[in-house]
Symmetry: C2
Subunit: 231 residues, 2 copies
């Protein structure tokens, strides 16, 4: 396929396991991928370096957008005064919204992706949200994505001119183990991804935060060796 015939897609790429798998899937579907990472004052900023390396490996462009969510406070991921919980049951009420939830994060990320899509005349946006393991985050649910897509088509030049904007969520119904299996089938090396909310200075994962626990269990369920370096 010649370069000019490729369809363009915007891929939200954090450097984590889910978004890396999403990039590999979008690439496999034949898109020319343009990746966006966000520096929003998160504690786990190292993941952006992983994102940059991954994008390069998959012949995708990569931009990092600095955003000011941190100045608002309100999340354990951007506010150092809130402890990161080590087990889900410490994280507020059962079935409630975790303290690691960042207010309106996916709304803000997708809004930037939408603006970038307009400029590049791309109609496809990929985001690695997952409703199974992160059911406590309201902005990871299919009904949120669907409402965003409807809004996006009313908000923009590309939507108004009848070339619909599509928000792709290839992971939304997959279990973590299924995501890992899909990525491995497409040749993704998960050593190049990072999940931990609080990596140490040598790049080792804590192994105890929610994100580490879900990742570890996913590799066990998938029957695959977890290449992560843990403390």
């Amino acid at each position: 396929m010649s370069e000019t015939s490729l369809k363009r897609a915007i891929v939200l790429l954090s450097g984590g396991l889910d978004s890396a798998t999403t990039l590999v899937m979008a690439t496999a579907e034949g898109y020319e991928c343009h990746c966006l990472s966000f520096d929003y004052g998160q504690r786990h900023i190292t993941e952006i370096q992983y994102a940059e390396v991954l994008a390069k490996q998959y012949d995708a462009t990569h931009r990092t957008v600095r955003i000011d969510i941190g100045q608002f406070g309100g999340s354990a991921l951007t506010d150092n005064s809130i402890d990161i919980p080590e087990r889900a049951e410490e994280d507020g009420e059962e079935g409630g919204i975790p303290v690691t939830y960042v207010p309106a994060r996916n709304t803000i990320f997708l809004s930037y992706a939408l603006g970038y899509a307009e400029v590049l005349e791309a109609h496809d946006i990929y985001i690695g949200v997952n409703a199974v393991d992160y059911s406590g985050y309201p902005d990871c649910r299919p009904e949120f994505i669907s409402a965003f897509e409807t809004m996006a088509n009313l908000a923009t030049r590309i939507g108004v001119e009848g070339q619909a904007v599509k928000i792709h969520t290839p992971l939304i119904d997959l279990r973590k183990s299924e995501i890992i299996q899909a990525g491995i089938e497409l040749g993704l090396d998960y050593a190049q991804t990072v999940s931990c909310y609080q990596l140490d200075t040598t790049g080792r994962a804590c192994g105890r935060c929610d994100s580490c626990r879900i990742r570890r269990a996913g590799f066990v369920d998938a029957g695959v060796i977890d290449p992560t370096r843990y403390v």
Copy 2:
């Protein structure tokens, strides 16, 4: 009314005529106002200083959020390689979307407002969009606002917990002259607002860009002296 009994609102405040009127309206409706301005690499950055002064005058808090829309390009307002048109008919096709349109701007602005609303536990967001004079901008239409509100209530903790998020657009159906009349009735001094897309170094408006022309005509239609200093 005691301070603790005030309901909180987030007000998007650019320092322009429309958003200043919106702030005054929200204040008159009894809200404790928390204003957000955006520094997005726009040419008319001076307006943020006007926003700061206005917020202070109305006992509102004020934050400026730096956002990276400019790095995407694609608009005459953020891209110096695109000329600002002096008459609407130069601005692309008749009835089309103006080159001064910034991709996904209101979507991004409202997304930040939504995140800030969550942190402050505010359920009300004010935005001074207007569908009459700016009908070429897709993200100024009532159907866009309505779709954003639906999405916002699915995206957030405050929405999910049943306390609906409301996007207020008090200007949406008003002509410019009606906006000016409403602001004057509420005591707003329009010398404290700025509309021009390309103010000169002494703060004088060009008088020729679309925004100046609409402002001037609005004051004429309202039968009110325009306090703006023009070149």
